[in-house]
Point group: C2
Chain length 331, copies 2
């Protein structure tokens, strides 16, 4: 399976996901500003992946600066935290690296090693959480079923096999043949560009649809389960995830299709009480109005483009995590 | 208000809607094959507009052939009927023109005049139906409200001011200021390209959203009413309309937002018992995979792209027609 992020000496190497599916192109940098920029530009995206990238990015910064200084480390961390607001994994990963520096850093530059260790731990733990999510989720799905997914939650989005897509890969590895419908996921088409690409690479039967087609498919009885990832899950179980998730959850309940949210422990935010308190990033109008180089909306048109929405716990059938499967409010 | 279709001597003149919003370009032809092609290519689209174009197209064919022959007229009509399968207005308009030829045609070529008359009657009656739909619908909407609409149902889609957009224009003319959210309407972005353009031309406050954002807006309480058009309404009240309509209807009910379908009498099909018997056109994969010149999905990817879906009567609050307002199953 593809690796979307990897340490490369004193730097980070990543797949520039904005170039997919046309081109599988890797970028490498020892400049942490470049890594922040890559997160902002969605070259690196997916809640777990941006956490991992930020952790590596902090090690990259210290290594390059040749200064092991807690104030500097915290300042780099706060720059990473500003890259994107919704996914909790980013904040969680930065806080882990800062805590490690506080605990283990001797003040010697050679101790950037402890930051690399922490970043690598975050990375390999994420891979392990993906593996467990896959195992826990695969129990819920039968051979021959058709699942619908949204956005990209696979190897590109994580440090391992993915969350929702990890469940699909694990089913395949256990001999359960699934059919997958992938929402294209406007505006940036992560479903069309990334999920369709990943699943095709893995020879999984995937059909691409426009986001507005999912409801009709469910009504026709052609979807057995909906499975999505999450960017942040509040203490009450509300789920922040890619815009359109809420609609899928309502349509799934209307059509008696189970609705699963697959996410690692690092996505659960115990600090935020409910979904409505999660900050929702708004994206630039051009992502909607300029459809991949061709202008497809009138000049000067107003646009509302939130990147995420909130799905209340009542619409979730199951949460699939590395620690097990929990019932949601719909169960 | 813009005229999307007009008789031009012995031919038809129309706006090539595939060029909008970049360019307002008119095409003209005295070749009925060109008109069929324009309907297939969605240069002319919108259920009422394609009916009107087909009616004119039949007059164009007879005028050019210089043969007034019922068998020929029927054959031209059946070619028009094959252009697109879902909107009933196309079939209804062709049948009207054939009936007129049967009733009034003398067999003389000069009698192509009766076909032009019938086409012009269909056109002007449609404009009048739009006007009445606007009046009937405007009663239901209050000053200051926010409405959400899908696809394009305005002057571009009809022979008059439109159906759902006609209601919005009539509100404006009566001094009711509305705010409109327009779904972009994938795959061909009729909302972004056409509705956003039409409403901006008319100085109506419009904000463009991705289709998958409508549910979140409704959940936030930011939408007072949803109003859409229809391509065909079955005898039991089921509505075939642009893909995504069904999802909006479910989301509207979930969030207690009234859901209105605005359509002229010519869109009601008394022959078809229920929505599930309405043929649903499937569109080519490229409309999904090639996002306006840039390839945005992997080569060889499977695509499911129905142009329409079925919204059951139970999800409709009101049908707004030229003959009045009827309650739906949700009322």
């Amino acid at each position: 399976m593809i690796k979307s992020i990897e340490r490369a000496g004193a730097g980070l190497r990543w797949i520039d996901q904005t170039k997919l599916p046309g081109k599988l192109s890797y970028r490498e940098s020892t400049d942490y500003f470049e890594i922040i920029r890559a997160i902002k530009r969605l070259e690196i995206r997916g809640a777990p992946a941006i956490g991992i990238a930020a952790a590596y990015g902090m090690a990259v910064a210290v290594e390059k600066a040749r200064v092991f200084d807690l104030a500097f480390i915290k300042q780099v961390g706060s720059q990473f935290k500003k890259a994107r607001p919704t996914a909790i994994n980013l904040f969680w990963a930065v806080d882990r690296v800062v805590a490690r520096a506080e605990a283990d850093g001797s003040g010697a530059v050679s101790d950037s090693g402890c930051l690399w260790q922490e970043a690598e731990a975050i990375h390999s733990e994420d891979a392990e959480m993906c593996r467990k999510i896959g195992e826990n989720g695969a129990e819920l799905i039968e051979d021959g079923e058709t699942v619908l997914t949204h956005c990209n939650t696979g190897a590109l989005a994580t440090g391992g096999i993915g969350t929702a897509l990890g469940v699909i890969y694990t089913c395949r590895n256990r001999g359960k043949n699934l059919r997958v419908f992938a929402d294209e996921t406007r505006p940036l088409l992560q479903g069309a560009r990334l999920t369709a690409w990943e699943l095709k690479q893995e020879n999984i039967d995937v059909t691409l649809i426009c986001d507005n087609t999912a409801g009709s498919l469910m009504r026709q009885g052609r979807i057995d389960r909906v499975i999505v990832g999450a960017d942040r899950i509040a203490r009450n179980g509300d789920v922040a995830n890619k815009i359109g998730t809420y609609s899928l959850a309502v349509l799934a309940r209307e059509n008696n299709v189970p609705f699963y949210v697959a996410a690692p422990s690092s996505t659960f935010d115990r600090q935020v009480e409910s979904g409505d308190l999660i900050p929702i990033e708004e994206r630039p109008a051009e992502e909607v109005t300029d459809c991949f180089t061709t202008r497809t909306a009138p000049e000067g048109i107003a646009v509302y483009s939130p990147a995420f929405d909130i799905t209340p716990r009542d619409l979730v059938s199951r949460y699939i995590s590395d620690t097990g499967v929990e019932t949601g409010g719909r169960a």
